[in-house]
């Protein structure tokens, strides 16, 4: 009897498993499959012969459904979306180029931009793209500006005017410096006939949400597997992409994936550059080196003792051996950072800043003068920078400052930073190609207050003339280097390694893709050159 029962129980459990799995398969949305383009091979064969098509596999993960509102703003989700949607202007290695707009005029005061659209552009569903769509886009983004977080200047849109089918004027409340990055070159144009009736754009996940004008159409998106499959749009106004299929897969380790041929591309930065060296000398791979748009900083809480004292901050700057940190921790995968935050590979870089030579004896002297001995402070960071934290702890101990190192996960550390509940913190951020990043919330808002700085920042944000803007941006960097709200540590070097038999047109976009994403994944690469 127990035999039969055992079998029955076994069967029951098996049944449960099967039911559970079936339920999962049927009830979950699964990979979103969109109708494929008309150029599908008639016999239904999925993969055409290798000599006729290029399928490029790239590493990535789930960055959200690539509609203009639903992608996750925390990473390269924007890039996933940019393959499907276009902007009025775009950038290549050298700078701004026309895209959807063939040309544009700006008014004297810089508050009115008139764009002339390239003729004959259609949406993926065949409807023509007109000035109505452009006007609608700006109005719509302005209306829903609370729904997304990645465009900095949408609040400066005053209004739009459709002049004719291919001409549209955009009115701003004030001139925007770097308008191409912040607005015109980063806001994707969306089809009015689809988005007109949508109230909650973030939750709009229907198939129509990804109908754009871009060089690719989305064929499959699997959230749980982090897989995106794009197919070339043969009717693209800039020409059919040379890559027939673009596939993103999730991998644990990019070097391993590239080495085993699972992917055709890998991107390395900072400490990861050790892995890039494995591909040196292998004729199958080529690489390009890119500009550094990222910085790691030691952040002071300058609103409370002891680091509200600028001389103490300067003493710390002399005590931290940044060169050694770069050597031991990053193994040469980074460069010692510019004290003014903006990296040397960016045009806005100010090379005339004061240096704080590594000189622990001098630090100790300064501390003595300040009458501060036997200080005890807290340093918070995430596990990613634990190594740097150890070095800093050792360096500060040398001059008599006891550092209590606390690590936590990102949300915890963020929470503490916002509350101002720390003395020192280690954190980093990107986007330093764009001086707009220098506004105070780059580091915790509660950690540094300086009205002069704020004024300067607002000024450069409005200065459209590059030369004058450069002066102000240099001043900002000077202030940071003098006042040291943060002690910058390193900028990572960046390298892309790729299998050149598949595609050889990789480049790094000037100032980063769109609003400043530093990856070498500009959609122009896939159009061939």
């Amino acid at each position: 009897m127990s035999f039969v029962v055992r079998n029955r129980i076994g069967l029951l459990l098996l049944l449960l498993l099967v039911v559970g799995w079936a339920a999962g398969c049927t009830l979950s949305p699964g990979p979103a499959v969109v109708s494929t383009s008309a150029s599908d091979s008639p016999s239904g064969e999925a993969v055409p012969s290798a000599s006729e098509s290029i399928v490029l596999t790239l590493p990535g993960e789930d960055w959200g459904y690539p509609s203009p509102f639903a992608f996750y703003s925390r990473g390269p989700g924007y890039i996933r979306m940019s393959f499907l949607f276009d902007t009025l202007t775009w950038k290549d290695e050298d700078g701004v180029i026309p895209w959807l707009a063939d040309g544009w005029d700006t008014s004297e005061d810089g508050t009115a931009w008139t764009f002339t659209l390239h003729p004959g552009i259609t949406w993926h569903d065949g409807t023509p793209l007109t000035a109505e769509d452009v006007a609608f886009t700006f109005e719509y983004f302005k209306e829903h500006q609370a729904s997304f977080t990645w465009s900095w200047s949408v609040d400066k849109i005053a209004g739009t005017e459709v002049v004719d089918e291919h001409t549209v004027t955009l009115y701003l409340t004030e001139p925007i410096a770097g308008c191409h990055e912040s607005l015109v070159g980063s806001l994707p144009i969306i089809p009015r006939h689809i988005w007109e009736g949508v109230d909650d754009p973030v939750k709009f996940l229907a198939e129509e949400a990804i109908v754009g004008s871009g060089p690719f159409k989305l064929v499959e998106y699997s959230k749980e597997e982090g897989r995106y499959v794009y197919e070339a749009n043969p009717d693209y106004f800039m020409g059919c992409p040379v890559v027939d299929q673009l596939v993103f897969v999730q991998v644990e380790n990019q070097a391993l994936a590239l080495k085993t041929g699972t992917t055709d591309y890998a991107s390395f930065s900072g400490k990861e550059l050790d892995a890039a060296q494995v591909f040196d000398g292998d004729p199958n791979y080529r690489h390009i080196d890119g500009p550094s748009f990222w910085v790691l900083q030691l952040i002071f809480n300058a609103t409370r003792a002891p680091f509200d004292n600028v001389d103490l901050r300067r003493a710390v700057a002399h005590a931290v051996d940044r060169v050694r940190i770069v050597e031991q921790v990053t193994h040469g995968g980074a460069i010692v950072a510019n004290l003014g935050v903006i990296s040397p590979s960016v045009g806005w870089y100010n090379p005339n800043l004061p240096a704080y030579e590594y000189d622990p004896a001098r630090s100790r002297g300064m501390l003595d003068e300040l009458g501060m001995r036997e200080l005890s402070v807290t340093l918070i960071t995430t596990a990613d920078y634990a190594r740097e934290a150890e070095f800093i702890q050792a360096d500060l101990e040398q001059i008599g400052i006891q550092v209590d190192l606390k690590t936590g996960d990102r949300s915890t550390v963020d929470g503490l930073l916002r509350e101002g509940n720390f003395d020192l913190a280690i954190g980093g951020h990107g986007g330093i190609a764009n001086p707009a990043i220098l506004r105070v919330p780059t580091w915790p808002a509660n950690s540094y207050v300086n009205e002069t700085y704020d004024r300067l920042y607002q000024e450069q944000a409005r200065t459209v003339d590059e030369e004058r803007r450069r002066e102000t941006v240099w001043q900002l960097q000077q202030t940071i280097a003098d006042d040291l709200p943060v002690l910058t540590l390193w900028h990572p070097k960046v390298r892309t390694v790729f299998d050149h038999s598949k595609l050889d047109t990789w480049f790094y976009t000037d100032g980063g893709v769109g609003f400043g994403i530093p990856l070498s994944m500009n959609k122009m690469i896939f159009l061939g050159r």
Partner: protein
């Protein structure tokens, strides 16, 4: 105690296990003397094994052998502390729950809740708080270890009570504390020992897992942290670094867990003499001399479950 020595001497696996444990214990205690460097000393990073560094150096130049020896200290210590505390609390609560019915009911309901909560989501929860250091870890594992121990101890106590001598003792005028401490507590020793071993293994494996995920204290010198930094290193898969950086700590963890398992066999045999004696007879011969039969039935299940139930 005599029983234990007899069993251990006879069984090679168990004595082997104990020998390994003792070795690791010694290494842990003597680590500062045996290490060629200090754990915070930094040399040239990523060196392969050489005369200077028998196991090479890690990504910031720490000597790996030194880290390994000091790792033994942390890993064994945190395992020992958690396991001891959780076993102690589990035994106490289990005794009380088994002896006092009403209190027992409440305790068991709490136990049910704790047993229903899966450990790892809670690890994620707890790791959100700062300072995942030695005592936080120990406290955390203690929180989850005691429940199963107390349930098993309670079963044991119920079984003992059913066998009658408890009633007899009470009739003779023995007070509750006397019964609990003198009669019931000793009978829980095998279960407690089994659970101690299991919890020890659990903690060592879990600490390594937590550290691997990056949720541990990054400055601790533990085997788990060594593995964390090793597997974070970009070329860990495609170069040979894993051989001298990842394998030693991984192997150490495995050896300690194995050694604990084999030592545990000795404990099992203590708990269930039936396991012990049938070894002395041929398979075909009917096992005679049932020295301890029916009275021990109650203890088979808890002991067996104690050993593997909680994995």
């Amino acid at each position: 105690m005599n029983d234990l020595m007899q069993v251990v001497r006879g069984k090679q696996l168990a004595s082997g296990g104990l020998a390994v444990l003792v070795t690791f214990g010694l290494l842990a205690v003597l680590a500062p003397m045996l290490s060629p460097y200090t754990p915070t000393e930094m040399d040239v990073p990523m060196q392969s094994p050489s005369g200077l560094h028998p196991l090479g150096t890690d990504d910031v130049g720490h000597d790996i052998l030194t880290e390994l020896l000091h790792g033994a200290r942390f890993s064994l210590l945190v395992g020992f502390i958690s396991a001891s505390l959780s076993t102690a609390i589990g035994v106490v609560l289990g005794l009380l729950a088994g002896y006092y019915g009403k209190l027992g009911f409440t305790i068991m309901r709490v136990v049910d809740i704790f047993l229903a909560i899966p450990r790892f989501p809670l690890i994620v929860f707890l790791a959100a708080f700062l300072r995942p250091g030695l005592w936080t870890l120990a406290l955390f594992f203690l929180l989850f270890g005691w429940a199963r121990t107390s349930r098993l101890v309670r079963s044991q106590v119920l079984g003992e009570r059913a066998s009658g001598y408890v009633e007899a003792a009470r009739v003779m005028g023995a007070g509750d504390p006397h019964i609990i401490l003198r009669h019931l507590l000793p009978s829980t020793v095998p279960v407690a020992l089994s659970r101690f071993i299991v919890e020890f293994q659990h903690v060592i494996l879990a600490e390594s897992g937590l550290s691997f995920l990056g949720l541990g204290d990054p400055t601790t010198k533990s085997w788990g942290m060594m593995l964390h930094y090793a597997f974070q290193y970009p070329t860990i898969f495609i170069s040979d670094v894993w051989v001298w950086w990842a394998v030693p700590p991984g192997l150490c963890i495995t050896l300690v867990v194995l050694a604990l398992t084999f030592s545990g066999f000795a404990v099992e045999e203590l708990a269930n003499p039936r396991l012990r004696e049938s070894r002395q007879h041929c398979r075909d011969e009917a096992p005679s001399g049932h020295k301890a039969t029916s009275t021990r039935t109650g203890s088979v299940r808890p002991a067996a479950e104690a050993f593997v139930g909680g994995r």
